[in-house]
């Protein structure tokens, strides 16, 4: 079975979805990413969906699940590069990507993640006192 590669960049996991995923592949990515957050101690997950021509309710739910799981594991997830026609269709379909942070592209997403990681680290530092 195919697998979607997960790259580690600094404190961040980077996933670029390049193919039209079938449902089992999407589920496998959800599991792999959740495990990778724990084993790599990542603080952020960046999912690049700019190559996706459609996002249906199943893929939408997978993105929500990853965001929720990462939050529980003290990491932040940002979805980047969603195409406008895909975004409009998702809204009309009725899928609410609740709790998902977004960014226009990978650079902006990485910036946001670094800022969020810095913030949470400085809060942690105070919290330890």
């Amino acid at each position: 079975m195919d697998k979607i590669p997960i790259l580690k960049v600094g404190k961040c996991l980077l996933v670029t979805i390049q193919i039209d995923m079938h449902d089992r592949l999407a589920m496998a990515l959800q599991d792999d990413l959740t495990n990778a957050i724990v084993t790599s101690r990542a603080k952020g997950v960046l999912i690049d969906v700019s190559a996706l021509e459609i996002v249906d309710s199943f893929i939408g739910r997978m993105l929500s699940n990853i965001a929720s799981a990462s939050r529980v594991l003290d990491a932040v997830t940002i979805v980047v590069g969603m195409r406008p026609h895909v975004a409009i269709t998702l809204v009309e379909l009725g899928v609410q990507l609740s709790g998902i942070q977004t960014a226009r592209n990978v650079d902006k997403g990485l910036e946001t993640i670094s800022r969020l990681i810095e913030q949470s680290e400085s809060t942690d530092a105070y919290g330890d006192d």
Binding site: D56, S57, H85, E92, L93, G94
Partner: protein, 134 residues
Amino acid sequence: MLTETIETVPIRSSEDIVRVRQKVRFQAGAMGMSLIDQTKFITAASEIARNTFEYGGGGELVMETLRDGARRGLRLTFLDEGPGIADIEQAMRDHFTTGGGLGLGLGGAKRLVNEFDIESRPGEGTRISLIRWK
């Protein structure tokens, strides 16, 4: 109205749902549908194909081109011989689900197409057709 059957696509696995999306994209593109119309139609097809597979126990998609005067369109008919839907009105409502999904499939897909038609008999199966006019 003139109709012509293009192709029948089996829906027996989650890979087949991807195949449905690809076939619909190809036909919608060939017809000259705009990118946004294609995306809506492919997304609707993906939702219904998943229903056919997950709840209907598998089935098939029949793709047809339609010509009504100067109007051209694409009709997708999804057929299964699964358990059927007892209360269609309830099933069309957002967030209604019996299969552990989000339950957006039917109602959401209806919003993405020009015409939506559903027939179902408990114990006999379900037939859902979607039309998008160019």
